[in-house]
């Protein structure tokens, strides 16, 4: 009995057949998820794929039309109140009060979560310092920068450490520096053992942070696995080269075939690419082209993009979602 319990306990979150429609539009059409306790799990998909609707159901904000899900063994519908005691949500829209200061926001939440007045103030101070917001703590949130607002939003989710943290596109719209700060925070949270469900439209982000990824499209999980498995299913990284003179493409093709194996000729007559995930080998190939007087306009060594993942998995690109998709989870 005990062994069975130990074997079944590591799942922090389980969903099976979750579905939700808004009017005629089916936003989520049967999503299954299994998230191990203490891991970062990425839900990857384009806008309108059903990510936000899924996360809102799991956070008890929306009632599923069909399917079941549980958070640490508590059903999200029947035991919604228990689930609310275990999760925190940092939504796509800033889930902090713009008309209050950063400090007031944290004290407000701390009080609502049951901290005594003095403890609430101390907790707010502690979080503001940890999230590099101490200086701005007396400012109204509406005057915060996007990155500060997002950090406060995440801090607000951690006033009482949740068992599971839902992050809905935490870096969308942030500049690269702020994005890196948020990534650092997520890494620290993961290292501290918090289970995180991370919705994102960036493969890069899921790749950097998540140990498991579900790719979601049109309300369904279309692929699931580790980032490595997922990328392997799409094809590896590739060296992309553009030549100054299209006449030299056959020379380039011959050299790259020797250096890297397979070569793919792009529709652009000056461009070609070869699968390659090793930067040293790519550098050697470039050097060999230079030695043979093949003149290069530009080159890049790139991971497959979300577009390529989608192209490989679904036959359409992530942008290719004709206007029929609902706005993520916020109809009307």
């Amino acid at each position: 009995m005990r062994v069975l319990w130990v074997m079944t306990s590591p799942l922090a979150l389980e969903a099976s057949g979750l579905a939700k429609s808004f009017g005629d539009v089916q936003a989520v059409a049967g999503v299954d998820l299994a998230v191990r306790s203490g891991s970062v799990y990425g839900v990857l998909g384009p806008n309108g794929a059903g990510k936000t609707t899924t996360i809102r159901m799991l956070a008890t904000l929306l009632r599923p039309d069909a399917g079941t899900a549980s958070v640490l063994g508590h059903d999200i519908v029947r035991e919604a109140d228990a689930v609310r005691g275990l999760v925190s949500l940092t939504g796509q829209m800033a889930s902090v009060d713009e008309d209050l200061t950063g400090r007031e926001n944290l004290i407000l939440l701390a009080r609502l979560l049951g901290l005594k007045r003095a403890d609430a103030k101390a907790r707010a101070t502690e979080l503001l310092e940890a999230f590099d917001l101490a200086e701005a703590s007396g400012r109204l949130v509406k005057n915060f920068s996007g990155g500060m607002r997002r950090r406060l939003d995440i801090a607000a989710s951690l006033v009482v450490t949740p068992q599971i943290l839902f992050l809905d596109e935490p870096t969308t719209g942030l500049d690269p520096r702020s994005r890196n700060q948020v990534w650092d925070i997520i890494r620290s949270l993961a290292a501290a053992g918090t289970t995180i469900l991370l919705c994102t439209q960036y493969l890069d982000e899921a790749d950097q942070l998540a140990e498991g990824i579900a790719v979601i499209d049109h309300g369904k999980v279309i692929a699931e696995g580790t980032p490595a498995q997922l990328k392997a299913s799409v094809g590896s990284a590739a060296l992309h080269i553009r030549l100054l003179d299209p006449e030299q493409r056959s020379d380039a093709e011959r050299i790259l075939t020797t250096e890297l194996g397979t070569v793919h000729l792009e529709p652009d007559p000056a461009a070609l690419s070869a699968p390659c995930s090793d930067a040293d080998r790519a550098a050697e190939a470039i050097a060999e082209l230079a030695r043979s007087d093949v003149r290069i306009a530009g080159f890049s060594l790139a991971q497959p993009s979300l577009d390529e993942v989608f192209l490989a998995l679904t036959g359409h690109t992530a942008d290719d979602q004709t206007g029929d998709s609902p706005v993520e989870g916020r109809p009307a």
Partner: protein
């Protein structure tokens, strides 16, 4: 770069939170009331509507109609001041619905809805905060009345009792407008629908005129209008001759409105996506 230091601070911050026992219902509601107060603190201008409008009403009605209706402005002031108090406070209740509708467009509501708290707490708290606005509106009117020569027989205790009764009724009535605030799509729609209801209800009462001069059917309506009963009770409390039955009816209506519309508002607040 302070990343490492911050990382340590972050880990400490994460490690040091034993989950406290859940906040009690009253504590959660009062915390939301505090939120309302903070907003007033940051944007004090929002008190203008509960201060300027009542001043306008008192001055306009007293000096425009006083002579015509009651023979003198002084005599009319004695009649109308408790009524204006009722009207101004009840008009303010519409803004509770407008404010809730505005709040719903913000992401922070999602966070409130995922907290393990007493369900009506955000709404009860907001209305408790609004009650302070009602109090401000009421106080402005009474103070202005006294400046203009209003001397109620029951003195300060009578005025305080009338003000308290009006605020209790306003609290009950607010639930109608918070329900409206959740059913309608925009703050403007709530405002229009709200005033479309409260405006005729207030004018078709005994706030401004003695109903005996009215046509029969209208008089019958005015007599049973809870706002008339509230205005009568307020006058009675200020004059020291209040009818206990009127007060009970007013309190009963407030309780009934709360009993019907509070659960409705709470349900709508939870289910609105």
């Amino acid at each position: 770069m302070s990343t490492q230091i911050q990382d340590v601070a972050l880990r400490t911050a994460l490690a040091s939170t034993p989950r406290p026992p859940r906040a009690g219902a009253l504590s959660a509601a009062l915390t939301f009331g505090w939120r309302g107060m903070l907003k007033v603190k940051h944007v004090p201008e929002q008190l203008l509507d509960v201060t300027i409008t009542p001043v306008m009403f008192v001055l306009m009605f007293t000096y425009l109609f006083g002579g015509a209706i009651a023979g003198s402005t002084g005599a009319y002031l004695d009649y109308i001041l408790p009524g204006i108090l009722v009207m101004s406070v009840l008009f303010t209740t519409v803004y509770s619905g407008v404010a809730l509708n505005t709040d719903l467009t913000k992401g922070v509501v999602d966070r409130f809805r995922t907290l393990p708290i007493w369900r009506p707490a955000p709404l009860v708290g907001a209305l408790l905060g609004d009650s302070v606005r009602y109090l401000v509106a009421g106080t402005v009117i009474v103070v202005l009345g006294v400046i203009l020569g209003f001397r109620p027989d029951a003195g300060v205790p009578g005025v305080v009792a009338a003000l308290a009764l009006t605020i209790v009724f306003a609290f009950g009535l607010s639930w109608v407008f918070t329900t409206l605030g959740l059913l309608l799509r925009s703050p403007n729609a709530v405002m229009n629908a709200g005033f479309m209801g409260i405006f005729p209800l207030t004018f078709l009462s005994n706030v401004f005129v003695d109903p005996e001069t009215l046509p029969g059917a209208l008089e019958a309506f005015v007599d049973v209008n809870p706002i008339s009963i509230l205005a009568t009770a307020s006058r009675g409390l200020m004059d020291g001759n209040a009818d206990g039955a009127d007060i009970m009816i007013v309190l009963g209506v407030a309780v009934a409105l709360t009993a019907i519309f509070m659960p409705l508002t709470t349900k709508l607040y939870r289910s609105r996506s």
